[in-house]
Symmetry: D2
Subunit: 362 residues, 4 copies
């Protein structure tokens, strides 16, 4: 459904980088779910550019909840959240409307839309649109928390520098609470400092860096999801690949499983505290597409920002000529730390939908 995703709870996204507004419509929510604008504010803040390591574009995101919420609770009818666009300098972009920025969608979109798409700032392909996803996901966070579901993402790697691993059991819960308070979401502050240095170094080189985000979801009961097309992996990956810059996803041990034997990869079951658990979690909490009651774990590869100050070879697709391009507008030398809020939010959307499908979000 193009810009709509979800089965029981569906999210529809609209907007273009330099149009009047971007936003989302969240439909299918049970009535009476708690909504907390402070949570929406906080997630939008986590997505916002920060300090020297980000673009200088200010994005204050003064959103409006147009419908579906009253007195801090959902009414059961569609929630529209709208974020007006501000501080848009089209001039930075206008001149590129026919020059394809390498690894951006400019050329593909030109073909897709016969040249009629809004190209200013990437239009509907802009990372800006993810602010609407963040708002939608943050809208759902208090309801998930009320059901015991926590979601958190840390920067597992930037430019080859790695964070420490997420803990297990109780420690995982502590880690998720810790991450909620961080703007640059690393568990190991030293690693975080090195990552930021690497980002600054790339910036100094008019270049950019990528990384890996690792996400955990705790508190989902066993038996959520569907066996075939609507597997937990299928729904999460479908949603997460909507985020610009994500080019890989793996669940549990993921690609590492390819090198294991079955006897290593399998997660033995046992009882702990009266409930079924596994002693390892190489499956990332998902068996046969369904949750097994263990934390959902996955990692997303985030490519380095394609917009860089260095000169690159490319084409003018309206004039059918080869040319070169060096970005002069504002841009991020790294988006990994900002994408983290989008991954959290997108995960919340899918988790809420899965719970709602199972009749467990009321």
């Amino acid at each position: 459904m193009k810009n709509t995703f979800g089965n029981t709870i569906s999210v529809t996204i609209f907007g273009e980088s330099h149009g009047p507004s971007i936003g989302c419509v969240v439909d299918g929510l049970p009535a009476g779910l708690p909504v907390d604008t402070a949570v929406i504010d906080r997630y939008l803040e986590m997505r916002r550019p920060q300090g020297a390591i980000s673009t200088a574009r200010r994005e204050p995101d003064p959103y409006v909840i147009e419908s579906g919420v009253r007195d801090g609770h959902t009414t059961g009818t569609p929630v529209c959240i709208r974020i007006p666009n501000e501080d848009t300098r089209s001039a930075d972009y206008e001149k590129m409307a026919s020059i394809a920025r390498p690894s951006h969608a400019d050329y593909a979109a030109f073909v897709r839309y016969n040249g009629a798409n809004d190209t200013r700032g990437g239009g509907h392909f802009s990372g800006r649109i993810t602010a609407a996803v963040v708002a939608a996901g943050a809208l759902l966070m208090p309801a998930l928390r009320a059901k015991g579901v926590l979601i958190g993402t840390h920067i597992a790697e930037i430019a080859g520098i790695t964070d420490r691993n997420l803990g297990c059991g109780e420690e995982l819960t502590c880690d998720l609470e810790l991450l909620a308070g961080l703007d640059f979401a690393v568990l190991d502050a030293d690693a975080g400092m090195h990552m930021q240095e690497a980002i600054m170094a790339a910036k100094a080189d008019a270049d950019s860096v990528g990384g890996i985000l690792e996400t955990a979801v705790t508190g989902l009961p066993a038996g959520i999801g569907e066996p075939f097309f609507d597997s937990v992996e299928g729904l999460l990956s479908h949603a997460l690949f909507a985020i610009p810059g994500i080019k890989g996803i793996e669940f549990g041990a993921g690609f590492g499983l390819a090198k294991m034997r079955g006897s290593e990869a399998n997660d033995p079951f046992r009882y702990a505290g009266g409930r079924v658990v596994t002693t390892s979690n190489n499956a990332g909490g998902i068996n046969g597409g369904l949750t097994n009651g263990m934390p959902i774990l996955f990692r997303c590869a985030v490519r380095p920002t394609p917009t860089i100050g260095r000169e690159q070879e490319t084409v003018n697709f309206r004039e059918n000529t080869e040319t070169t391009l060096a970005a002069s507008g504002r841009h991020d030398p790294c988006i990994v730390h900002r994408v983290r809020a989008v991954v959290d939010a997108m995960t919340a959307i899918v988790a809420a939908d899965l719970l709602a499908q199972a009749g467990k979000l009321q």
Copy 2:
């Protein structure tokens, strides 16, 4: 939509491992597309267990096209392909109905279905169901080929042993044609022999091995797909994670992008033969969720078969006791080479849907 997938062309899957039949309904096909039962036969054969490296269960797959095809062409109404189940030895499985096979869906399904699901042979969670996917995908292959679209998958890695890389340009086309004729799909025959030795070694140890499949799709025009939720990555990953055993997917350079700088990762555009191409293909042919005219490239991580002869710790979820389990029924020490046909087929389903959405499959 649970067991249905696709926008313009949708595929619905049904069946259980030991029920009367499994099958699929493919809806939304344009009328008049060529259908070739020899192609369906061939893909079902590629998925079938082969020789010593596979399970001894014979799966002859004598399918019936129940509707939607006449005189070698689609009629434009739903195509149902049904594959009767044969040679099912329920006795092998019945005794396990309450003992969770580690990393299988037994426990999660027990919770999901309140114990009412068909547990024989894994029921609807069985890899057997993928034969219906293979039939659906193979149904679409001639129509895709008629539009210049080729799909092929090779075994990039099994048990740490790697195949050579797919070629570029003309060589890629040759590689895809080569793969179509192979039952064990490796480009480097020596590597293939070593992989099969590793499989036999695992079998001798009552264990199993995993691997990585790499897929290429050539001939898709630029501008196919949608910018947000229905990105090419999103649709492919959603469909591919339906295949039992797949736990990771990466497009183009995928997780490798995390370590690159933007200047390395970006794919510069240029003109070749009058059309826009990129000099590298780190994006796997996809920019902003849309095809850019380059080959689609992706890799899937396939876990080692969870069913192994070794004794494993687990639980009896009906009796709430801990126990051990060693598989005695027939099982595969490796499914990577068989999953390859399923990946090809699932890719065909998504590629056909993408083309149809763009009005380019007629």
Copy 3:
């Protein structure tokens, strides 16, 4: 979704009149619902041609449940029911493949499918396909009954001859039980006799007659449905217009409301037996798209069978010539009494979906 309908519970239809099989896939069913093949048998029998007033084509409908049911209960995974086609005399139809039968889909389908559709016996447009709908609906009847939901349809009118009205309250329940046992579903046996005489008279004239079916659904709780597009009226009408020959639908007083004043049309609320009821039911049990706890009431207009023995003017759409046509094959002088089973079944599909969406079918 073309041949798929439903939100939580979806039904996919496949098949052509003279192909190997027709059938359906019902997905999204909770596990453990009771299934009774005697009920499926009975509904298929109600749809089957009966005696002199129907076509001579025998349709024994020996269906197979291919998946999703075990030991008299749903397993929670897709249920495929397949009905092989038998006794198909293509010769009756082959010669008409390019002559448009008036008020049939032949010409429209020729354009829609570029002439590639299966035209034998109407192909996918044949009333034969409704046997699959009947099977799907009858599959759901025991589960609905277990939740207190009863569905029944009577022939309100054929050829201008009217049945008595459905009763209210307890009497409605009696009427629905009475109808369940009838093959020609009239409450007033005399009216039924006159209707059958009118059908025979039309047959003697090589002509056909139409009528009106009235349906009641009791036992649905208040608050089921959705306010906007997925109103109870919207879902029922969408599904019911799939039945060949239905050209009108009205809920409650329907078109009669157009002549009333608000003070007559409004249904006052009061309490009875501790629950909210209305003293009239002009709204047919639906307010603002939601059930209000009163019986759902609607009427469907069924056109006279378009296939008649009389000579009619028409065109040969392959030769672009005008011509005449008189049907010589087997055909029904009236389908109203047979469509009744299809309306019951389609209503069951929608009612089950509505209950399931509200989490009330488990």
Copy 4:
């Protein structure tokens, strides 16, 4: 999908009567379609209350196109149209939040949403929401007109007073052009005067009246639609029953077919001007769910406004008591003439979707 409708082109509705805004998101539009704000203005004006025969509530509808349109053309990405709410007097409604207005959704919604819905002015159930539908439909009108598709609705009947019938052939086109310019859409001005007198008489009695709207769509090519669930009748009725107050729909001769014989009801085919036409149009331009190239004709029954000044018996559903109610707020003695714009708009949405599905809206 609750508040979303459509296959290729989908419309999502949001908003509540007294919330900040109502609106819609239209997705799946081809890029480059012409958009004309004057057309949107005009349709919103047609829906707006007019003079003495309508409510005194002023609804100026100063909408904002938030996305998806640039320089008078669609960009190919979602179009959000937002209409801020103004002039809302909640006090009129607040006191009724627990007293069910007869034939309104208050009680059903109370049950559906556990009392958490926004009840002010009917909330999401308000006819106010249809302004968003009108905007969405009017957005599509210029693109439909560019393809030769005209849509128009006249008031066939109010309070038993009937308009003259729509003409055939050329005259139908003239009638549709005539209707476009009218605020009170009758073909016979005298009949219109009598209708307005009947409305005023009902108002004087603190009562309301209903009626019938008749709609024609010309210019749709033959072969549009789908044979089974996505029949033209099914899609139109599903969408139209979303409009508050519509309780019946019939296509072509509709319920009148029930009294005809097949020889009268059938529409003979012939050639005229080189194309296939029918000499009558009892099928309303639809055979087997597909367009046959003739005008689509249908009639909608509109109930009298349930809000009336007369005292009615009802219940207080929070206090479980019986009570009486007489509306004191602003309300319409008749909505038939206003609903006409909503029917036109909803028809445009379905027609555009049908054309787009067939690849004919580009």
